[in-house]
Amino acid sequence: MRTLFYIAGKDLLLHWRDRLGFFWWMLGFPLLIAVLIGLIFSGVLEDPTQPLRVALVDEAGTPESQLFAQILQESGSVATRPMSAGEARDAVRTGGALGLVILKKEFRITPAVFSNQRMPVAIAMDPRHQAESHYLKAALNQAAIEMLRRQWFDPAQRSRFIDALLADTGRQGEMSALERKAIEGTLGVLGSFFDAPASGGKRSPLDALSNVEVVPVDAQRIQPHSAFEICFPIGIMWGLIALAAEFAQAIVKERDAGTLLRLRVAPIARWQILAGSGLACFAAAVGVTLMLLIFGHFAFGVRLQNPVGLGLAIPAIGLCFVGLTMLLSVLGNTESSVGGAAWATLLIMSMVGGGMVPQIFLPSWMDLAGNLSPVKWSIRALEGGIWRDFTVGEMAVPCGILLGMGLVCGLVGVAIHQRRASC
């Protein structure tokens, strides 16, 4: 047993001496990744309670378009800023606004915009915020409905509302004055039914229909508090990826440098040699993970509020990467070929596993492929300990998968090592 510690100690010493490999690739670079991605996504994952920032270009400049702009602003869904077309484009390009809304010259809202006509509105989005375009469209539709509602319910505007309705359907001349009065009356009655506040302070029936109450789902606990809580697990993955590549190379280097020969003629069992290296790899993996987490905690407020979960996740991740390292170390015959193959494999695993771009931004097929990647399950396990607040039972899933993957990779790697050595 002592022998294992001697071998592991020697491996750790050698990695410690390799300043570039240890301090930069395993600690510095991952930290940089975590902080940079964290800063980038801090912008994207803006507080969802904040309205969408858009530039508004009013080309029509009519009372009607001004009313629409006002309704849009009052809705609280978007924060509009009036600008000229050129200014608006610049604002989107430079990130000052996430999109722009143009109220076209012929701007007019009638019921027909929901049937055979397009809304006389155009939008453009920052390419990185395409997803929000649906949200913006919904906000515009909502404003259009509100505008129609006001025209209908306001007796002073009701006449214009009916004119517009008839014009849209091409039936202006077909209605007698009497018919028209009757329709206006009916609409008025309906309007006062829907619009008038009901007795006893209750809200109108229309309000009750349109305003669905939104309740928080334990929002305090199951959301990351900041982008850093998402990005530190990613940074840790980069550290572990570098670590697996470095340790896999070290195993090959041991052979190339002839020192493996000395180990193999010493009175120790052959399994102890690989087990010692595995132990060193495990210790380094746990060390790197802890160092990055602790740094994230104190410098960027990453919560470590589920110590039990982390206590399960970190060793499981470490063991998985030990197995991975063993397998990577047989991917080539020289130090550089193993290094290249290890990095290539790990980068693909990282990409599909959400180690480059947070998982929520991955297309669904990639997310599916990610199930084969230890990176995905490692991130899941770390998140379970950081902000997802996994119970032990929930933690068992990613940890079990990690241990299984580590075991399979490790067994295959060790078997190939033993076969090569026994000639």
Partner: protein
């Protein structure tokens, strides 16, 4: 101490060791000589259990499995290729390898100190191996093999690629070990070394042993005659000179400056004959045949690799 019988090892289509049999007796220094690719390293690696023979038997101190820990504890190998951790210091290397042999505490420190002194490395004990000269690295390579005081030492070209001073140091070291009664198996490409150190020598080529004997016997039976070169005081007629040398062969006489060159089994007798014929000798050199002659005689002069 070491007995090898009908050992065979092939790498694919290359037969590295072919039906090899030899024995190294206790306290003996045995030299394994041979051109590049003769199979010396392969043989050593089979002896320490790094390679598994295709057939044949190895017995070390009566045990036929060289991978057994009790065998490994009495064996020390200084491999042909440097096998040291470049990024660790001299002392760290020694401490680490010592621990693998179960040493620790005062015994380990004492042994490390002893081998450092023996290898004249004490002053560089704290230096990283990669900063050492080639000679120091070779000395450390030997020191690592000696740490656990093995009874049997396998030295695979222990003096390759180093300067005469460092070589001299290592040779002194090996002689010292020899005096201590270690059993040593040595391979080298330097014939003087084998001549100086080995009690018995085997010359192998293409995986087979060609001859195996003591140095004297090898030279006697394979090296041919002694080469004598002499310069006479005064010019003499060629016939007189050649006639007087009854015991020599291949004589060559140049009248201009009285130079003489011949081969003989009995150089002293030849000198006596020259004197008897009244030919005074001004200068003489006698080249005894060396192991190198034997080696080239047996393995040929063409390149191997």
């Amino acid at each position: 101490m070491i007995r090898v019988t009908h050992l065979r090892k092939t790498y694919g289509s290359v037969t590295a060791v072919d039906d090899l049999s030899f024995e190294v007796r206790p306290n003996e220094t045995f030299g394994l000589l041979g051109p590049n690719g003769a199979g010396k390293t392969t043989t050593m690696h089979m002896l320490v259990g790094l390679l598994r023979p295709d057939s044949g038997e190895i017995s070390i101190g009566g045990i036929t499995d060289p991978t057994r820990p009790e065998v490994r504890r009495i064996m020390g190998i200084a491999p042909q290729v440097l096998s040291l951790y470049d990024d660790m210091t001299v002392r760290e290397n020694l401490m680490f390898f010592g621990r693998l042999y179960g040493m620790h505490g005062r015994r380990l420190r004492g042994r490390v100190k002893a081998v450092l002194e023996r290898g004249a490395l004490t002053e560089r004990a704290g230096s990283l191996v990669k900063t050492l000269s080639g000679g120091m690295q070779r000395r450390l390579q030997l020191a690592c093999a000696l740490l656990h005081e093995p009874q049997v030492l396998l030295l695979d070209e222990p003096t390759v690629g180093i300067d005469p001073q460092a070589r001299h140091h290592i040779l002194k070291d090996i002689e010292d070990l020899k005096r201590q009664g270690r059993t040593i198996l040595l391979t080298t490409h330097y014939m003087e070394e084998a001549q100086q150190l080995c009690d018995r020598i085997a010359i192998m080529d293409q995986g087979r042993i060609l001859v195996m004997d003591s140095l004297e016997n090898l030279i006697q039976s394979h090296a041919g005659k002694v080469l004598v070169r002499a310069e006479l005081e005064e010019p003499a007629p060629a016939e007189t000179v050649l006639h007087s040398l009854a015991c020599a062969s291949g004589s060559e006489w140049r009248a201009d400056n009285g130079r003489l060159r011949f081969e003989t089994d009995e150089p002293l007798e030849a000198i006596r004959q020259l004197n008897a014929a009244g030919l005074a000798i001004r200068r003489i050199s006698i080249d005894r045949p060396s192991l190198e002659t034997v080696f080239l005689e047996l393995t040929g002069r063409s390149l191997r690799d």
